[in-house]
Symmetry: C2
Subunit: 288 residues, 2 copies
DNA sequence: TGAAGAGGCTCAGATTTCCTCACCCTAGAT
DNA sequence: ATCTAGGGTGAGGAAATCTGAGCCTCTTCA
């Protein structure tokens, strides 16, 4: 006659993780995004946790949530614990498959920057598999299973400056000799980098109220293709159109180039051991 | 067009916990017990983990499992991480309900030792709720949600010595004047403490090959009741029959008493802050 | 030598947990 | 006033998780 409740159910790990993410990121939506679930799921987890503890962890406000004193007191401990767990998982992965390097990056960078460099990388380090995952925002490297993260930003090891300038198909170049000509040409806009046009115009056409008009793309690589097809002028990131420029598919008729405050940067969660495949990949990417 | 796999499923926390428990305890069955699930569930978790990592974590042997080099390398990190998590949960519980003290103990101790002391405890600290959970084996206090653990053992703060001696109903006492008389009387046996008879006989009847005969009980409290009913002789733990002896429901006809190497001991996971309810309960139990 | 037991594996089926979807609500911004 | 951002709800379904019974292997012990 064993004396044991059917399941001596401790606090559910998933709910704790949801709480930690929500508390650390300051919102349920942000947590949902990090965890890859819908906000409703986070709401439910936190609610379940609070119900079980019979105590509030967040104060619900109309413009978001805020930690209660209780929540704030315990958050650091949970963050540290989940960080340790994430690190342990990282090490487990690294030890069990030391020959695979996982890289997280933007879709545009994956296609236009990383992809052309892959053959060289593969040749340089045979036996090492390079896996690339595209995502819209940099992952939390302490949690998500990536070795390297390549994104525009201000932190991390510099890989390439971000220099932007207008490009178009060669047959369109004749119609684009001065910045003012842009008003008469369709401007291809990438939805994620919509501000590029303003950033460039602010420097290249100071004093002018320039508003680009043209089709919007959610995939930068698609915009590049359309530009090469002659659909209009694209605000190009230098490092992403180098191939098209070299092959003559695109040309840059205007001399004005603008350096963005962010640059293409690479970073990794843990300090990479020299000689480790991930470290070798990082080094190779930094010095192309 | 968000670029995200349906669920960027990281390693499942539950499976990691199963691995950690199995590795730390040296077996799937032991892990299953600690986690409160069947061994099959642990098997499945570990298998899933290994499949996903494409690496073995355990070497399966006929008499159990053994960690692989990989498993052994990562175990300490996981243990530390889950310990930290368990501690964080402990603190969360303590902060959110500081007035509840959870005690884990044996069923027999709960009924026969703790229960009589509860009214006094409650009177001594009004407003503090004392919750008692009975279980067969001491819980892992770093993981399970208990503040105090009361079990026979060699570690922890001494609460009471374990002294054993035969007892019976008063009407049976006349037939029990010498240890040898035990051969002619039914000996009530508690399945969990079956060795008590041997331990006592080894000291009280040296040289004799004594084997108790009689009904076996899985619940010590039941055996005590049966002894009081005159069903036979029970090998009593002194601190558990004090009440029955005082009320005359049981008597101890033989003078031989044996002190067990284990004693009733109390311990807690974290260092208790003076003034904290759990600490006050612990102090009260130690000095009755 | 052979029975019993410990420890683990497997598979089907059941249960619980977890998540999504669609919708509502609120307050501040446009 | 409408829009947007952030959160809450409840139904329904998908997926993770657990159980249970039976099998296997090796060891122990009688």
């Amino acid at each position: 006659m064993p004396v044991a409740p059917p399941r001596p159910t401790d606090l559910p790990l998933t709910a704790l993780r949801a709480f930690e993410a929500a508390a650390r990121l300051g919102g349920f939506s942000a947590a949902a995004q990090e965890l890859g679930v819908t906000p409703g799921a986070v709401t439910a987890h936190v609610k379940a946790l609070e119900a079980r503890l019979a105590a509030r962890l967040f104060i619900r406000g109309p413009k978001g949530v805020e930690l209660t004193a209780l929540g704030a007191r315990v958050l650091p401990e949970f963050t540290a614990a989940f960080d340790a767990l994430g690190l342990a998982v990282h090490h487990l992965r690294a030890e069990s498959a030391p020959k695979i390097v996982h890289i997280a990056t933007l879709p545009a960078l994956a296609q236009l920057w990383l992809s052309p460099r892959l053959p060289g990388l593969r040749a340089q380090m045979p036996g090492v598999e390079i896996s690339i995952t595209a995502m819209e925002a940099p992952p939390n490297l302490k949690r998500a299973p990536y070795d390297l993260s390549l994104f525009p930003g201000r932190e991390g090891r510099l890989v390439a400056e971000e220099v932007i300038f207008p490009v178009c198909a060669p047959q369109l170049a004749a119609r684009l000799t001065r910045p003012e000509d842009l008003a008469d040409l369709p401007c291809l806009i990438d939805s994620a980098w919509a501000e590029d046009w303003q950033d460039w115009a602010a420097v290249a056409m100071p004093g002018t109220a320039f508003r680009p008009r043209g089709p919007v793309f959610s995939l930068y690589a698609l915009a590049v293709e359309e530009a090469a097809n002659g659909a209009g002028v694209l605000m190009a990131h230098g490092s992403l159109v180098a191939g098209h420029l070299a092959r003559g598919q695109l040309v840059a008729p205007l001399p004005q180039r603008v350096r963005l405050p962010t640059a293409l940067r690479l970073w990794s969660a843990r300090s990479l051991k020299p000689g480790h495949p991930a470290e070798r990949v990082a080094r190779a990417l930094r010095a192309p």
